[in-house]
Symmetry: C2
Subunit: 327 residues, 2 copies
């Protein structure tokens, strides 16, 4: 049984997910497992799908483009029960939540940058649709889409995929960010991210792409070498509220950034995360959704775990210059 536990010293939450030690690869290497459970034809190797996009359904084919299935080794359980476990001054509870896998191609592709712009749009449509469904279940306060590509990014299967989690409570990190946003708004009458986008558009030294709808920037306090964020220029809180046109623009910018990172970094491994608002409102003034792309070149080490500060050996201005020149 997975548990969520709180460290009394730091306030940090941890999912103790003992079942996950059985999963393939243990992330020391990415298993090129044969047969691959994510390839077309091997659908029976995964739990039954909860969502799919089929390109040619009208032509009577059964081929899928994107499939979403429950994670076979979930860190969270939908039927985790209600009982809180208190052990002396420790607080723990069954790890309630949804944990799903988005299989992003029926073919055995291992690098997302190889997908076409149309394929990217279909993947984003799948994220959007599934987040909307999870939101409608009403029991989740926090939704997160994330991708691990490459062994150094923690991937255990190489076939391109992302994961979606839904949690009943908003994690401390997100609560703190919302507090910072709220304080900024109360002080300056403006969304912090809107202000940041404006400043980066004027300064331009950390701006990589501006397609009129989205910007891609290397953030001022990047934790990772070549870290970059994609944000909608118009203030919106919910990724999953994006229009068809929004998704097509986003598909173009996200694909372009992954292609440029692939050129800039040998053997690129990366994570990306989609931060969408905990609230149901698309014009929540305290939240501006974004994608963070986090290349994994060096690894956080003793200094980072000890102090909570990151060391980044590549200045964001240098990263933006290089990524800009690769366009």
């Amino acid at each position: 049984m997975s548990q969520i536990r709180k460290d009394p010293l730091s306030g940090r939450h941890v999912l103790i997910a003992a079942g996950r030690a059985e999963r393939p690869g243990h992330s020391t290497t990415v298993a090129a497992s044969e047969p691959c459970p994510f390839c077309a034809g091997n659908e029976s190797m995964t739990p039954p799908e909860v969502f799919a996009i089929r390109k040619n359904i009208e032509a009577g084919t059964i081929g899928w483009s994107v499939r979403i299935v429950p994670n076979k080794y979930p860190a969270l359980l939908r039927n985790a029960g209600e009982q809180r476990r208190i052990e002396g001054f420790y607080a723990g509870a069954p790890a309630l939540g949804a944990h799903e896998v988005v299989i992003e191609s029926s073919e055995h592709i291992v690098n997302m940058a190889l997908l076409s712009k149309g394929d990217f749009a279909i993947v984003l449509q799948a994220y959007r649709a599934r987040l909307q469904q999870l939101r409608s279940e009403k029991q989740w306060s926090y939704l997160l889409v994330y991708k691990n590509q490459g062994a150094r990014a923690g991937a255990t299967l190489e076939h391109i995929h992302s994961q979606i989690i839904a949690l009943p409570d908003v994690p401390q990190q997100t609560t703190e960010e919302i507090d910072n946003n709220r304080n900024y708004f109360e002080r300056y009458g403006r969304c912090l991210s809107c202000q940041m986008i404006e400043q980066e558009s004027i300064n331009r030294s950390r701006l990589v792409i501006d397609d009129g709808h989205f910007v891609a920037i290397c953030p001022f306090a990047s934790r990772f070498a070549y870290e970059n964020w994609i944000l909608p220029k118009r203030h919106t809180s919910l990724f999953e509220n994006g229009s068809e046109e929004d998704l097509i623009h986003l598909a173009g910018v996200l694909r372009e950034m992954l292609i440029r990172l692939d050129r800039a970094v040998d053997h690129l491994s990366f994570n990306y995360v989609i931060h969408t608002a905990p609230s149901d409102s698309d014009d929540d003034r305290d939240y501006h959704w974004r994608i963070e792309i986090l290349p994994r070149i060096s690894t956080p080490a003793g200094f980072e775990w000890g102090s909570g500060c990151f060391i980044n050996p590549v200045a964001p201005e240098a990263a933006a210059l290089r990524l800009g020149n690769l366009g």
Copy 2:
């Protein structure tokens, strides 16, 4: 010029240390560089030492046991200047601080667990002496000792070594921990860590070692598989205030834990960090010093970066049972 920058959304601090990209290894592998700059005879390959322990000084030999030198690729600079850089709504400043390397053996040893108990005590004496010196400089509010051993833990040189940093300001993570401690003390009239040690000593399911002076436990909310903490049983705030007897007991417990981890985990990479109080007082009721040993088996991935929660696939109770049985 290194900079310390604050992310306005999260409040997170980052050291932008562009010079460090030149250091060997880039942490994809640990360089077995030949000749090794940390071996006896190659002292001229490092900056001049700031501290050393020589075993046989009275016998007229020049052999050293432990040497401390400034980091050749520092993330922090002692002469960083004073000027704060404000760029629009961003806050950055020159990265002022000390960043030193503790070379823990004159021989080319790559696994600290192979040192004798006496050698461990000498290493701890060197940490203690250097922290006392840095503390006496009066300009540092935060001191941290940390070790990276193995490529997966971010080490770039294999010869055993640790690092010491000194910062003018206390990082947010430590400030939050002190706040949690203070709140606990105000509510329950007791140090949170003292309470934790008592509870673990009664419960015993996460207790690995109790030598009467120190306990080694797998903490309730361990982030990492086989994570363990060593704490003094008597309430003390400052690692560097430890007596000779304290260090000898600690040397025994630390060595024993590293030996057991080495047996429990194939190709062990790990970080350890020594958390000592920011304050000058050894009986600061809001701080209880500790060592955290963090094995690096899987890597934090999209879920961790996105949510700020960790997923740990090995329950601390299972880890403690295994480490207990390896004694």
